[in-house]
Symmetry: C2
Subunit: 184 residues, 2 copies
């Protein structure tokens, strides 16, 4: 079985140096100098000040034609020039989770253009989603972004656009962690 669970450990060392941790909605996370991303199990790690656990999972809303467009243009993580990163954990309300699949899809894409907005910033802004709601975690998703310093303004645009959507009205907790690649 391939381990799909990863731990994001905020502590004294790691591959990514924290620039700032900003509370967007609800409680923040404790300040830490570094974040380490490591393969995780279902057990809680005791390392660091906090650990956020997430699992790479199947697509939940993306349809085939959208997936084809994403695959054609998206960039992978780990590009040498992509020295900037953001880790944005969010939690959505119970109202969101009690919606049926078609209602969530309509808000997510038809009204909020979540996929199409992300597409506009590809391949500059690489993105990977981790799910955590079903792991009894404090957040529902961890989204990890990587980009080159010259695309920092574009990244701010992307984040600002998503935060204005109808989908974001269901977000009850959001923390925005900005990082730069560390030399370990």
């Amino acid at each position: 079985m391939i381990d799909k669970i990863f731990d994001f450990v905020g502590g004294d060392n790691g591959q990514w140096k924290v620039q700032r941790i900003t509370k967007v909605i609800g409680d923040s996370l404790g300040n830490v100098p570094f974040v380490r991303i490591m393969p995780g199990g279902t057990q809680k790690s005791n390392e660091g000040l906090w650990t956020l656990k997430g699992v790479r999972s199947n697509l939940r809303y993306t349809e085939k034609d959208e997936e084809d467009k994403l695959v054609a243009i998206q960039a992978g993580l780990g590009r040498p020039e992509a020295t900037c990163a953001a880790l944005i954990p969010i939690r959505k309300s119970e109202d969101w989770w009690s919606l049926a699949q078609d209602d969530r899809r309509r808000i997510f894409e038809t009204q909020s253009q979540h996929i199409n907005t992300g597409l506009k910033y590809l391949p500059a802004i690489a993105r990977r989603l981790y799910h955590c709601r079903d792991l009894n975690e404090p957040f529902d998703f961890l989204t990890w972004f990587e980009y080159a310093p010259k695309h920092a303004d574009a990244f701010e645009e992307l984040v600002a656009a998503l935060r204005k959507t109808q989908e974001w009205e269901y977000v009850v907790r959001e923390v925005d962690i900005r990082l730069i690649r560390a030399t370990e």
Copy 2:
């Protein structure tokens, strides 16, 4: 945080007495006399011969009109007359999980009538789904059914109908555990 994770522990005691464990596709599970259902954490339990962990999660395919029909007619678990139960763990192939959301939905409902077939047997056959793929478990889903002895034939029809669908061509492991309520 409400604990949504449950352990199905196969061992020497429990609320449900095992009648038989049948291998449908792929490897079976070890024979045990009882199954105990208990609140679980993300950690592996050491109790029993085997433990299957699952999480109650949000709807993945059900649309609003279908949910309304289900809610109007479905029965809860724990009815005194529902002394028969089945625990059916399944795992689907990587081919299934790499499909986009609209392709999975089309196979699941438009072609395989998964929701509509279940509806035909409500409220006689109560059903609860637990997800486990994202917990690094050997199965992707555990489905728990409860029904009265007089509906045993209807339950066989339901299971047989689902196993003939296009959706089931993606099932790579399935075990069928039949149980009766035990007096603890």
